[in-house]
């Protein structure tokens, strides 16, 4: 059996074949369509998520899942909402793993490495096993950002940990029993708020907002009826959309609000 899945108005993105394959959720076998993501397959099998699911878009980090494939000793990992099932996989979700998180007073915390060292001294137990990097579903080089934090390089740690979605899988594997992602978040907060130079155009924009530059436009939108809103949102003429793969210099022709 095969169906075509229409996406958008007129494009056919993929031919979806729905053969059923066995998967094992926490050891129990279910036969599920092989085109589903792990999350949908679990729902297909009868699971209802009240935890372990959030955005369904690969961003919130609620659905971290570990699995093994037949005849493969490796631990594999994926976000349940993003990873398509594979025949014979054994999986369990690890939506949450206990992780030490130190409360700190942002205002009172100086932008120095020692502030983080004091909040998370277990940082120095890292053995560079790299298990964290290997398990990260976002391909964040966790071991490297931990190394950067240990030497007080907040800029580098911020850059390296930027894609982290706080799923916590790294902490589940850590030899040193630390919660890498909470430590990196503290670093990014301090770096972003206290070290990184402020963007001047942002301040200008904030002033513009305060001065009411967008007030009229917003008022109009608030008054508009559903049909108008739909038209504004969908129509190519009313809304200028940045083309895929556009150059960095791309600007809309109507730049009244820039």
């Amino acid at each position: 059996m095969s169906t075509t899945a229409p996406i958008g108005e007129d494009k056919i993105v993929a031919k979806v074949t729905s053969k059923h394959v066995p998967i094992y959720v926490m050891g129990k076998r279910y036969d599920v369509p092989d085109s589903l993501t792990i999350m949908k397959a679990m729902e297909y099998a009868g699971y209802k998520f009240i935890r372990g699911c959030g955005c369904r878009g690969g961003i919130c980090g609620a659905c971290g899942t570990v699995y093994k494939k037949p005849d493969d000793y490796k631990i594999h990992v994926g976000l349940a909402c993003q990873t398509v099932v594979q025949e014979g996989m054994h999986l369990t979700q690890i939506p949450f793993y206990p992780a030490t998180r130190t409360v700190f007073d942002y205002e009172q915390t100086p932008a120095v490495a020692e502030a983080v060292f004091k909040a998370y001294p277990e940082l120095f137990r890292c053995v560079a096993c790299n298990a964290c990097t290997k398990i990260c579903p976002m391909d964040v080089p966790v071991m490297d950002y931990v190394a950067a934090i240990k030497r007080g390089d907040f800029e580098k740690a911020t850059e390296l940990s930027f894609d982290c979605i706080q799923c916590g899988l790294c902490a589940s594997r850590c030899m040193a029993e630390m919660a890498q992602y909470h430590i990196a978040q503290m670093v990014r907060r301090i770096y972003g708020g206290k070290i990184k130079p402020k963007a001047t155009h942002l301040a200008v924009m904030v002033d513009n907002v305060k001065a009411g530059k967008f007030k009229d436009g917003l008022e109009q939108l608030k008054k508009a009826d559903v049909a108008t809103l739909k038209q504004l949102y969908m129509s190519k003429d009313a809304r200028e959309i940045e083309p895929n793969m556009s150059e960095d210099e791309w600007v809309p022709t109507n730049n009244a609000y820039l």
């Binding site: 490495a113 890292c126 053995v127 790299n130 190394a147 240990k150 030497r151 390089d153």
Partner: protein, 296 residues
Amino acid sequence: MKVSYYPGCTLKTKARNLEDTAIGALAVLGVELVELPRWNCCGAVTSLAQDDLLHMLAPVRDLIRAKEQGSDKLVTICSMCYNTLARANLLMRNDAEKRDALNRFMDEEPDYAGEVEVIHLLNFIRDEVGWDKLRAAVRRPLTGLRVAPYYGCTLVRPAEVAIEPAVDATVFEKFIEALGAQLVHNPGAFDCCGSYQILSHPKQALAASAELLGKAKNKGADVLALSCPLCDYNLGKRQNELVADHGLESKLPTIYFTQLLAVALGLDSSLCHFELNHEGTRSLLEERNLISTVAV
């Protein structure tokens, strides 16, 4: 000449005075220290158990980074990093079974078999710069400054990684003499300052520190030269406690060997970050007219 360089975590924070002076002074001597583009903490101490390979991963990864960079030499400055990297390197060279186990575990890294040579900066200066060239490069000889060398543990023990055999090591002594300073024989040159036990058993570590500083002091040293940020912490930064509670009769400033080098080569003293040193170091050098007095 360019050479790969492993800094270590502390040189990026508390011991910037050690790193900045090394890089600045070596540049004057025609050597560019090229920091590894990617590195992790070396682990500071070595695993001493035959069945604990886990704690060998960190230093071996750093050696792999040097190999990846195409280097066959890796220079380090911190004594602890030197010791840890050099011992991990020996393991990878000499123990085929453990080498295989480590390479297999790090399946994401290229294999490593000890191709890189780990060199402490003192030995690098001895071999690649040479005492004659060093002497010739000195702009401001440290005349009259009585300097005691302090090797500590990790530059000389265990024997298989010693920068020179401990009983007749002379590299630090020759270095000090080449800078025009007056060498003070230091009977405590190879004593232990208590190392990381400063955190868990501070009383014992401070007692050991006080005793060894006393030995250099008794020989009339003006300053103790060292190459390890942890020694500098125990012996320098905690020195007030040594005097107050541990029987050290009077203070003895401490200084990194690279700072002595930078001063002797006539580099700007702002590079030396004396604010990170023992409180008496800057004033000692000012008194001797080796650095100019800065108005604060």
